[in-house]
Every structure is written in C-alpha cells, then in structure tokens.
Symmetry: C2
Subunit: 460 residues, 2 copies
C-alpha cells in the first residue's frame, strides 16, 4: 500500500546522497513505480535524477512513464542519450511513444538511431498518427490466432510465446493472413471449449473497433461506455493494428477531465500535476486569461462610463464606480483559477492538505507577479490621456486602481487556495468551496480594499 | 457501432406503438444495452416503458442498469414488483444493488421477499455497507482457488464452473479455507505454468486490496493509479469478500468528476444525465445556490452603501451603483451554472449540438422561474423599509432591480447554454467558453439592460 508520503520523500532525499546503487535498489524493492513516481517530483531535480539513474534500468523506465510530463521533460534534459535509448528499449510501445513525445525533434532523431532498428521504425510509424489520436496508444502485445486454429493450438501458442508482463490476455483476436480482424473470443470461452473447437467457431463477430486516427478521448469514452477492457484498433482496410487498453483510457479521461475543469476555471494548458509546475509556469497558464478577461471587463467599464457620464443626471455615477466590475472581476477570476486548480489536484490526490504552506508560498508568489502586471496595466490604462487606449482619469484615481488590483489578486488567490484545503482538512468536499462562492466572498472584501485605498489616496 | 441517434430515437418511438414483443425483439437484436440506454431517456416515459417491458427480460435488466438514475427511478415507479424482482434475479450482484438503491425502503422490502432467499440476503448484506462505499460494488464472481491446487485442478475448475458472461478471469485469487486472501496470479501465468505447479508457487503475495467500507471514489482512484483491472475487497480480518472491477471504477470516477465540475460551477446534486432531469429538477439544483450567493452578494452592496453613503464626499455613490455587484453576480452565477452543466454533458456525449433547440427551451423555462424568484426577492429587499431585512430605497429603484434580475438571468442563461453548443458545432473545445469568459461577457451586456431599464423607470 502507499507509504506515508512525507516520510517517504524524506527517505528518498537521504537515499539520493548514497552512491552505491545496491543500497538504493534494496531500499526501493517492493515499492511500486506509481508510488515512486508520486514522490519523485517532490525532490530536487538532482536528487530525483540520482535515484532514477541508480535504479535498475527497467524499473526506472516504468517510473519515468508514470511521472508528470513536466518532470519527464526535466529529467530527459539531464539524462544521457544512451540511458534514454535503454528506457525506450525496455518499455512497451505505447509507453515508449509517451516518452518519445517529450523529446525535441533533434534529440528524438539522435536517440532513434541508437535503439534497435525494428523498434525505431515502429516508433516512427506510430508517431505518424496525429497528436492525441488513439493510434499513438496502440499496444501490439495482444493475442492473435488464425480462424482455423483449434483450442489446443491456441493454448500451445499462449504457452510458448515470450512472457510480457504488462498487458492482458482476456480477449483473443482472430485475424486472417492479411491481418483482417474477423472476430474475438474470451479466454474464459477458450478454457471452456472443446479441444477441437476452432477459433472460427468460438469467436463473436460483432466487434466494436476504432480507427487509429480517432481522437483518444473519443475512443476512451467509447471504452468507458461499453465497459470494455480493451478495444481493437483497425485501419480503414479492416486490418487490425493493435489494441487500446483500459488503463490508457483511464489516464486519457482523467487528463481530459482535468483540462476541462481547468478551462472552465480559465486556466489554460494541459493537465499537469500541480506540484510539478514552477511558479513561472503557473503564471504563464493564468496571466493570459486574466489579461484577456481584463480587456473584456474594460467593456463593462465603458458601459458604466457611457451611462454614468451621459446627460441623464439620474444615472450620473462617481468615476470610482466605473472600476467596480473590473476590480471584482479580476479578484473573482484569479480566485476561481486557483480554486479550480487546487480542488482538482486535491481530488486527484496530487496534493494533500499537509502541503498548505508550500502551496500558499507558491500561490502568493504567483499572485504577486500576476498582480504586478495587472496593476501596471490598470494604472496606465486608467490614467493615459489617449483616446481608446486610456481613460484619461485623474492620476490619483489611476493610482488607486493600480494599487487595488495587485492587492485584490493577492487576497483572492490566498482565499481561493486556502479555502478548499481547509475544507478538505475538516472533512468537507472541497468542491463545495466553489468558484462562485469564492468569487462572491472576494467581491465584498475586495471592495473594502478598494475603498480603503481610495479614501486615503483620492484627496491627494 | 452507435446508430445515428435521432433516427434511432424515432425508430424506437414507432416501435413503442407495436404490441407484439416479437417484432420489438427482432428489431432490437444486436443493439447493445448501452446504446438503448442512451436513447430511452429521450422517449416519453410510457413509450420507454413499453419497449423495456416487451424486451427479453435479461436484456431489459441490463438496459435498466445503464440508464441514468432519474430514469431508473421513473421506470421503477411504473413497473410491477414481479418484473423488478425478475430483473434483480438475472443481474450480477453489483448491478442488482444499484437498482435496489433506487427503490423506496418499503418497496425494497416487498420485492426482496419475492426473489430467491439467497439473493435477497446477499443484497441485504451488501446494502449494510455505507452509501458510496466500495462494499456496495462487490462482485462475487471471481476465480478462487486453494493454495495447494495444481495448474490442472485450476483449469478443470474453470472449465466446469457455470459461465458468467459479464465478468473477467484475468486474475485468479488464492484463498485458504477461511477465505483469507493469500495471493494472486494471472491467467497468463496459469497457462504458461507446468501442469504440476501449485497455486502456492505461482502466486504473488504483494497484493493491493481495499476494505469494503473505503469510499468508492478513493478505491477507484487507487485502481486508476495502478492501472489494475480488478482489486480484491478484503475485510478487516483478511477475508476476501469479492472484487471491485475497473468498469465500476470508471463509472464512479466519471460521476465524481461530473459532481466536482458541477459543484465548481455552483450546481448541487448528484451527477445525473442532463436530459433526464425535468425543468423543475433543474431549478431545484440551481436556485438554492443562486439564493445563497444572492444573500452573500448583498454584503457587497452593504460595503458600497457604507462607503458611498458615508460622510466622505469623494466616495459618494449614486444608489444605482450599489446594485452593480449584485446584478452582475447573479448574471455571472446563473451563466456559469448553465455553462458548466452543458459543457460537461457535451463532453460526456449526453447531449449533442443538434439538441440545441430542446436545450434552449428547457433553459429559458428554468431561467424564467429562477429569475422570477430572484426578481421578487430583489424587489422586496430593495424597497422594504425595515432595517436589516430591507434597504429602504425608493420604489422606482426597487422596481428597476426587480425587473433587471429576471432579465439578466434569462440573458445569462441563454448565452451560457448556447455558446458552448455553438463552440462544439464549429469544432472548438466547448470548455474554452469558460465560466469566467461568459461571466465577463454577461457583465457588460447585463449592465446595458440595467441602465436601459433604469433610464426609463427611475423618473417615475
């Protein structure tokens, strides 16, 4: 079962200092690749690399596959070509592709020349399928038999083939000589059949297959819909290329859901483990959206200016009011970005409530950078006496807006990151600390910040 | 493969009019339960029931299991006890439990008395596990052998056991006489083993198991983490109760993710297929949150009143401004509720872009009801000359607020439901039409509505 995370990370940190690979291998025996892959991103890059390189190569390769993509890229940058080539060599094809996808084109080419030619051309063939297509997830390790094979032929076949540890044999596929998929039967069916029955007699012909260029998410949803363990991938001429397995489908759906959740919260980019991203990467995934929404929210300010500075005295507004939607919008958006990110990471178990201090530090650093950018733009835009680009307001008001923006972003980010963690800690579903809830809370408190700053500065 | 949805639904509608079960059975031959279960909720209740009841009972039971819970409840209300008892009888235990969970306690008791006693007591035993625990997902159809069994014993066993179609035999569990789990080995291992090898020799003892009272989501995430196809469920005395299979894990994770997505968008309730919910049910899942946020947003109004009506003339605000955060908040919240719901349903394939007219009608009806409730409360609260409860503003302003609220909610809902569908239609990821994007868009346009209403009414 899973080891206690913090102790395990500390243990790894001290192991990294030990030169002798034997000690490391002995220590890590019996620990699953998935568990190691969860702990490694919490180490310094060099410590993680040290451990990976001193492990048994086959195990190291399986750990690498389970790591978050950001960490994989960081490790690959440091590993020598020969090591990477070895990893690719020991991995099943679908896992090897995942690693290859993270290499730069030049490096990929260099490494493909070092590994056995058969594997290299196989990898190149699979890489020819579009990004995110199910073709890239093809596993060629499936059991295929000819239609005239008898039960005893198939059993002998299974006994004699070299063992492959990571795939399954629940389904047996019946192919003709040209690799056309004719049907499928289960191992259970096989084990219960008469020794003289042929594959032809045992198979079901109503098989749901997918083409290699189908989007991986679509294929994964089909798999989930029908509750299959594997689906055959068949090209447009009816030839079976391999299978798509449920563990890949699971991973694809989890990532797709994460991406959707984040997009709904206005965070762009792929599904990446939260802790594997640097502060700068967090800023990059959030600021473009914040800026876009900032510009869009200026439109709201224009609506207020249009009515509030128009001729109708009943509608006349204090210019301070023009910025209310912009300010609460920025607070709400940055709050919902961080809440969404943290809630999803908590749900996936990538972070625990014990990580709160580390998260708060990261989030405050991120907020200071985003806040400073927004504040500078807000100041210039409010003050600038140039039509369209600026609003030509008095400098003191511009200063108020420029200072309130970073303050609100910092406040919203802190609240947005800590509330879900506190909820988790006291046993409430963190998702209940929903984005709208946090937005509303930040609205009220954010305006207090605004007016307190305004009260002090506006007279100057 | 999937039939063209609309044609298929129309076909079912005409089939429902045919009395002869034979015709229906023939027509539906070869169609998978999952595909039927997707189409049935789109029919009128009576049509769907007619088809279900004229199908072969075993198939009908499997279709029922795949239906959205709301539809299951509606059908169960109409089906006679004897039919339900038959369904429970033919289903595997984990599926039978899912149906039983939707029955009222009285009806459940009545039906359990009609089915074979062994099954009934089994169902009752599983229902004793907490709601949402993995114990309720136990499948007892797994292959168990004794440690001293040889390869040939196991093969003979597999051959002689009655066939069960829906489960798998990839893993073989080794139990002692007291049902303690000793280890596990794969069928592949079995098929490659020497005929005299014993289970004891073939098994791995490092097995990850889960206790029956573990939360189903936690168990499902463990399964996904390690890429397993099944996990043993073991009680606190080490006795194996059954297995938890990857198809259940998939379903659990999909529902958990849906619930998280909806909660982040401030929609409460379980994951239910969008089209299986009535307008009133949609209102019930949304209005409580809207009201809660409405009350919270009043706080923001109080902040504005405090500063804007305070002594500081620089901060003085037109009372119209007090309601800006409330109005854009309500627009944003109702918009983000519907965007989140629609985006998730699109991602799961529950709705298609061709459903837009049906969705728009439902959403507008929902918005009219929620808007009317919010508008009435908004009017009273703005006008009421009672401290704390009301704000004692002039009646014309109260009327403006009371009319703007439903208008904004209606507008936000329409935009929030149609934008993701339009995005999907033109091939953009609907999640990019994120809640913050829609919120911001609704902010600006909502304020135009506000000031246009105000301009006309405020003078009266």
């Amino acid at each position: 079962m899973r080891t206690d995370d913090k102790t395990f990370v500390d243990e790894l940190r001290s192991l990294a200092k030990i030169e002798d690979p034997e000690v490391i291998r002995e220590h890590l025996e019996g620990i699953r690749p998935e568990d190691l892959a969860e702990a490694l991103p919490r180490l310094e890059l060099q410590d993680g690399l040290a451990i990976l390189q001193r492990m048994d190569e086959e195990r190291a390769a399986y750990v690498l596959v389970e790591l978050p993509n950001e960490t994989v890229r960081a490790y690959l940058d440091e590993l020598p070509d020969a090591t990477v080539a070895h990893y690719l060599d020991v991995l099943p094809m679908d896992d090897a592709i995942e690693i290859t996808e993270e290499l730069s084109p030049e490096r990929r080419e260099a490494i493909l020349q070092v590994i056995p030619e058969e594997d290299a051309s196989e990898i190149e063939r699979l890489l020819a399928y579009p990004d995110d297509s199910v073709g890239r997830r093809i596993t060629e390790d499936f059991v295929r038999v000819r239609p005239e094979a008898t039960t005893s032929d198939v059993l002998r076949d299974l006994r004699e083939k070299p063992e492959q540890e990571y795939e399954m044999i629940n389904d047996i596929y019946v192919l003709d000589d040209a690799r056309h998929l004719l049907g499928v039967f289960s191992v259970r069916r096989l084990l219960r059949a008469d020794p003289h029955s042929t594959a032809n007699e045992m198979m079901m012909t109503d098989v749901i297959s997918v083409p290699p260029d189908m989007h991986e998410e679509e294929a994964a949803r089909l798999m989930a819909r029908y509750g299959f363990y594997a689906m055959p991938i068949v090209d447009y001429r009816g030839r079976m290329l391999g299978i798509f397995t449920v563990d890949d489908a699971h991973e694809i759906l989890e990532e797709a859901d994460t991406q959707d959740v984040l997009a709904l919260g206005a965070v762009s980019g792929d599904a990446e483990a939260y802790l594997s991203l640097s502060t700068l990467q967090l800023v990059k995934r959030r600021v473009p959206w914040l800026l876009g929404l900032f510009v869009a929210e200026s439109l709201t300010g224009n609506v207020l200016r249009y009515y509030g500075q128009g001729g109708d005295s009943d509608l006349k507004l204090n210019p301070l009011a023009f910025f209310i939607p912009l300010l609460i919008g920025c607070g709400g958006n940055s709050g919902s970005q961080v809440t969404t990110t943290i809630t999803r990471s908590l749900a996936l178990g990538e972070i625990k409530s014990g990580d709160w201090l580390r998260i708060m530090r990261r989030e405050m650093a991120t907020a200071l950078i985003s806040g400073a950018i927004l504040g500078a733009i807000g100041f210039v835009r409010t003050w600038l006496p140039v039509p369209i680009l600026g609003w030509n307001m008095q400098p003191s008001l511009a200063l108020v807006v420029g200072l309130t923006l970073p303050a609100i972003v910092l406040w919203a980010t802190t609240v947005g990151s800590m509330l879900p963690i506190m909820a988790k800690r006291v046993g409430i579903d963190p998702a209940v600390m929903s984005a709208p809830f946090i937005t509303t809370f930040v609205d009220a408190t954010g305006l207090v910040i605004y007016f307190e700053i305004a009260r002090r500065l506006i007279k100057m």
